[in-house]
C-alpha cells in the first residue's frame, strides 16, 4: 500500500510511501482522493517521510489535491520533505499553496 490514511476528527493525514513519478502517482492520487471524499477533512496533511524520490508528477499530485481540498475550503499541509523533494516543490512554488516542513523540523 503506497498510502496509509490516518483520520483524527477533521484532520486527515496521508502517509505516502515509495517514489512519486508518473507511474506511481495514479494509485496515490486515487487513495488520497477517496480519503478526502470519505472524511471531508478541514485539513489534510501529506506526510513525505517515506518518499525517497519525486519528480514533477509529485507536483501535479500535490496541486491536484490542493484544488480538491479548496472546494471544501480545507487546508493542505506538507511535512517531512527530504532535500530532493523540497527542491522540486520549491521550484514549483508549492509553498504558496501549502505550508511545507522539511524532514527533521518537528
Amino acid at each position: 500500500m503506497p498510502v496509509k490514511i490516518d483520520v483524527n476528527g477533521e484532520l486527515v493525514t496521508a502517509y505516502l510511501e515509495g517514489e512519486i513519478d508518473h507511474h506511481s502517482a495514479r494509485v496515490m492520487r486515487n487513495d488520497i482522493d477517496s480519503a478526502i471524499e470519505r472524511n471531508m477533512p478541514s485539513m489534510l496533511i501529506l506526510d513525505f517521510r517515506d518518499i525517497s524520490f519525486m519528480d514533477s508528477s509529485g507536483i501535479g499530485l500535490v496541486m491536484g489535491r490542493y484544488k480538491n481540498l479548496k472546494k471544501n475550503n480545507a487546508e493542505l499541509h506538507i511535512t517531512n520533505t527530504s532535500p530532493q523533494i523540497y527542491k522540486v516543490m520549491k521550484l514549483a512554488g508549492l509553498e504558496r499553496l501549502a505550508k511545507i516542513d522539511k524532514v527533521g523540523s518537528k
Partner: protein
C-alpha cells in the same frame, strides 16, 4: 575527451521510468558526485523519460534511447531521444506551466530539467520525434 559512455534502449512502459533514472544515476555515481548532484540528474532524467512515455508515445509504444557521455571525467551529457509525435512549438512547450497533459500534469518538466542541469536543448520534428540534450558539470572535490 569522452571518458565513458552508457547507451540504453527501453520501451516506453511507465514501469521503466524508475529503472531509467536509477540506471543513469548509478552510472554517474562512478564519478563520485555529491548527493545533490546525483539527485538533480536523477530528477532531470525522470522528467525527460516520462515525457517520452506520456507525450511522445501517448497512444502507442515505442523505444526510448538514452545516451550518457562522461566528458573529461567531470561533465555528464545526457541525451534522451524518442521517435514519437514530436513537439510543434518548442518555445511554448518549454514555458513553465505549459502542458498538453491535462489536469494532473503541472507543466514543469522542462523547468525542472533547465534548473537542475547546467544546459538544456530540445530538438524536435513534428511526427518524427524529439531529442532532449542536457549537461551538468560536477563540482571538483579534493579527495
Amino acid at each position: 575527451m569522452i571518458t565513458n559512455v552508457l547507451k540504453l534502449v527501453i520501451p516506453s512502459k511507465s514501469s521503466n521510468e524508475s529503472f531509467a533514472r536509477v540506471a543513469v544515476a548509478s552510472f554517474v555515481a562512478q564519478l563520485d558526485p555529491t548527493l545533490e548532484e546525483i539527485n538533480d540528474i536523477k530528477t532531470a532524467v525522470s522528467e525527460a523519460v516520462t515525457n517520452c512515455i506520456v507525450h511522445a508515445y501517448k497512444e502507442s509504444m515505442g523505444n526510448i534511447y538514452i545516451t550518457v557521455q562522461v566528458i573529461d571525467n567531470l561533465t555528464v551529457k545526457i541525451k534522451v531521444r524518442d521517435n514519437g509525435c514530436g513537439i510543434d512549438n518548442i518555445k511554448q512547450a518549454m514555458q513553465p506551466l505549459f502542458t498538453t497533459g491535462g489536469e494532473e500534469r503541472a507543466g514543469l518538466g522542462f523547468a525542472v530539467m533547465e534548473s537542475f542541469m547546467d544546459k538544456l536543448s530540445v530538438k524536435s520534428k513534428d511526427g518524427k520525434g524529439t531529442v532532449v540534450t542536457m549537461q551538468k558539470k560536477l563540482s571538483i572535490r579534493i579527495s
